[in-house]
Homo-oligomer: 102 residues x 2
DNA sequence: ACAATACTAAGCGAATTCGCTTAATATTCG
DNA sequence: CGAATATTAAGCGAATTCGCTTAGTATTGT
């Protein structure tokens, strides 16, 4: 089966923070977000100077971290932002603030 | 000068997310936080199994990311949480949420 | 002054990351 | 079917990370 390998991360936060630690990957998220929440792999790759195969890898990291979901559509692949995952991290960070309300 | 080398990071987010990507470093932050916001290097190192020299390095990473500040007090060194830095990141993540209010 | 305490610094090896390149796969169009 | 399009897979080398260990420095107590 063509199911993508998705080794279960013991610590979800680890994957998410590591994914967010790279400028290109944050740029991917911001770009998809301002594009309405979803873009094809090709559109995403087009915003970068570096080889698009490199972007493919970044997309897989983001997907493995649960920050993107992806769906095949014909010969294109559509990536979508997973807001809830980002909110999970934001809420973790909120614990350190006095103004924690959630 | 004994001033600690603090190379200016072009991208502050990079340093912060990378710092948060390691479970031990998150544990350091949580531990200091629940201890009232500050602890000595020795107290922090004591919560880990691994060599305390390893923790020293983690502390420097957290400091370089601006998540901790540090101050010498006699022969001890006191580390303090820098809440504003964590809030910076939380706010960045908030941009992706519909319920952004800040 | 000397020993003890509390650290930081520096260097090593295994593992991981990030760009690259070459190759493979899947879908659509003529 | 065969070419074109869209994308993933796999493997390479340089750089970084993370644990370790050994060594060095600064402050305190006697």
């Amino acid at each position: 089966m063509a199911q993508r390998e998705q080794r279960p991360r013991v610590d979800a936060y680890e994957a998410v923070f590591a994914a967010l630690a790279h400028a290109s990957r944050r740029k991917v998220l911001v770009t998809i977000f301002f594009n309405g929440g979803s873009m094809t792999a090709g559109e995403i790759a087009a915003i970068f100077e570096h080889a698009w195969q490199t972007t493919t890898r970044h997309l897989r990291v983001l997907e493995a971290a649960g920050l993107l979901t992806q769906e095949r559509r014909g010969r294109e692949r559509i990536y979508r932002i997973e807001r809830r995952r980002l909110e999970l991290v934001r809420d973790w960070l909120s614990h350190f603030s006095k103004t924690t309300k959630h």
